[in-house]
């Protein structure tokens, strides 16, 4: 039985570690999520519904969808273009470009927002010119989109660069020798090869675009019903001690996170099957 006892000890440690991990997840993730939901529904189903359908909340939801709806496709196109260039061609400054793409991850979102205020705000570099021509960027939709694009632009590219580098140029060269044009090669060969990675990147990009607080907060100006996105609306409500409404809107954002997570897991599962099929 000596062997059994020497096997049992790691098993005990394994159980302990698992328990610690589960407890930690429960404490740090499930408990807050539960708190959000219980607060959101403290006045029952009707209270929740009233909070998420009142005009300011509706406007915040609309604005968040609009900002994400513009920023995510922009970053998708940029991400594909950058990954294509980095993985399929050799050029000077490639490693600098890769580093720069990652930059928004290491910069505090507040700084990201401030950059745009410095550039386009009333006292900023282009502020005077913009005022003369009656163009609003800061405290308006363009500013929100700019800040969101900046904060979320690594997501798609980061997902695609390693994937496309690993896949190499072989399939594209084969398509070219078979007489396909550049566009046909992209559409029929490259895009299908990266589709799961691309979807995954877009999903993460979207989750961050909708949930972004810091950068958007700086450029928004917090005009209720006009420039407040959902996360900003939550903050406003919370500061007004309107907890039920704040948590009701927050529960929508939490729902977004849960849906993203579910889709992400589903994609990972599909993605793995696709990778296995390639080899």
């Amino acid at each position: 039985m000596r062997r059994a006892s020497h096997l049992r000890e790691p098993a005990a440690i394994k159980a302990l570690l698992t328990l610690v991990a589960l407890a930690y997840v429960a404490l740090m993730l499930l408990l807050p999520l539960g708190a959000v939901l219980s607060q959101a529904f403290a006045d029952g189903w009707r209270g929740w519904l009233a909070a998420v359908t009142e005009p300011d909340a509706r406007s915040a939801i609309r604005l968040t969808l609009l900002v994400a709806g513009i920023s995510v496709p922009l970053n998708m196109i940029f991400g594909i273009a950058a990954s294509w260039a980095i993985s399929k061609y050799d050029f000077r400054g490639k490693s600098i470009l890769i580093t720069l793409i990652e930059l928004p991850f290491s910069v505090s979102p507040v700084v990201s927002g401030l950059v745009f205020v410095l550039l386009f705000g009333a006292q900023g570099w282009f502020g005077g010119w913009l005022q003369q021509h009656d163009i609003e960027i800061i405290f308006a939709l363009p500013g929100l989109v700019l800040a969101t694009v900046f904060v979320t632009f690594p997501f798609v590219a980061r997902q695609l660069i390693p994937l496309m580098t690993a896949q190499g140029r072989g399939d594209e060269e084969a398509a070219l020798t078979l007489g396909a044009s550049g566009w046909q090669t992209f559409w029929h060969v490259t895009l299908p090869n990266i589709r799961f990675g691309l979807l995954y990147g877009v999903l993460l990009c979207n989750a961050r675009a909708m949930g972004e607080f810091g950068a958007v907060s700086v450029v928004s100006g917090h005009i209720r019903g006009e420039t407040n996105t959902m996360p900003l609306h939550v903050e406003v409500l919370y500061n007004e001690y309107n907890f039920i409404a704040a948590f009701a809107v927050a529960s929508l954002l939490a729902l977004l996170a849960v849906v993203t997570l579910a889709l992400k897991s589903a994609l990972e599962w599909r993605y793995r099957a696709a990778i296995a099929a390639r080899s």
Partner: protein, 238 residues
């Protein structure tokens, strides 16, 4: 169709991959480019295909200068060492790819593409597997499918980059025979790259031996054996 390479040079940064290479392959000939790795044989094949651009020199197909022509418009078939089959397409879709991307005016009908696909599957002795995916095939089968795909648009020239490199000895022998038969039947002009001199000598009409970006000798296998042109050729064949 004859292939003429005139004074072609190509550098990769400081390293000269090809240095003033000239070579003429006759219409209907089966030629091999043989040499150690780094000798420039694959670079030369890729320049003929239009996948690389030479710094200087010219490439002629028959009476046409194709040096500046894009790979897609050269009318060649290319077979890659690692097959490069499209994993998300069935075997039939892979083989028909070259036909489905043709401009609408000259593109065959869906029915004709299917007929052609089946004809090609018969040619490479894999009838009835059109509905399968590349991942479900063995290495030898994949390379046969890749060959069928390269032939779909009836190219006059077939280029093969180490086509048997990733296969075991038995499959290699089978495939060699099949390739030679197809070459003769279709009246192709073919060039294949290899580092295996036995393979080059048993399969090719003439063998070009490359070293350090230059052609050391381009002759019939028998002549090379009898009369090696340089010390390098002698030692490479030993």
């Amino acid at each position: 169709m004859s292939i003429r390479i005139e004074n072609v040079s190509k550098n990769f940064s400081a390293f000269a991959a090809l240095n003033q290479v000239s070579l003429e392959i006759r219409d209907g000939e089966f030629a091999a480019l043989l040499g150690p790795s780094g000798s420039g044989k694959t670079t030369l094949l890729r320049i003929i295909a239009g996948l690389e651009v030479p710094e200087s020199g010219e490439v002629w197909f028959g009476r046409k200068n194709v040096t500046e022509a894009a790979a897609a418009s050269r009318g060649i078939g290319f077979v890659f060492q690692h097959y490069a089959l499209f994993g998300h397409m069935t075997v039939a879709e892979n083989i028909g790819f070259g036909l489905t991307v043709m401009p609408r005016a000259s593109r065959p009908s869906k029915k004709d593409i299917l007929l052609r696909t089946n004809e090609l599957l018969d040619l490479v002795q894999l009838p009835g597997i059109g509905g399968r995916y590349p991942s479900e095939l063995s290495g030898g089968q994949r390379q046969r499918v890749a060959l069928a795909r390269a032939l779909a648009r009836r190219p006059r020239i077939l280029l093969l980059d180490e086509p048997f490199g990733a296969l075991d000895a038995k499959v290699r022998r089978e495939l060699r025979g099949a390739l030679r038969t197809i070459h003769d039947e279709l009246g192709l002009t073919s060039i294949f790259v290899t580092h295996d001199h036995e393979e080059a000598f048993t399969l090719a009409d003439r063998v070009a031996i490359l070293n350090h970006g230059q052609v050391e000798q381009f002759e019939k296998p028998k002549r090379i054996m009898q009369d090696p042109a340089s010390d390098f050729v002698r030692s490479f064949l030993a």
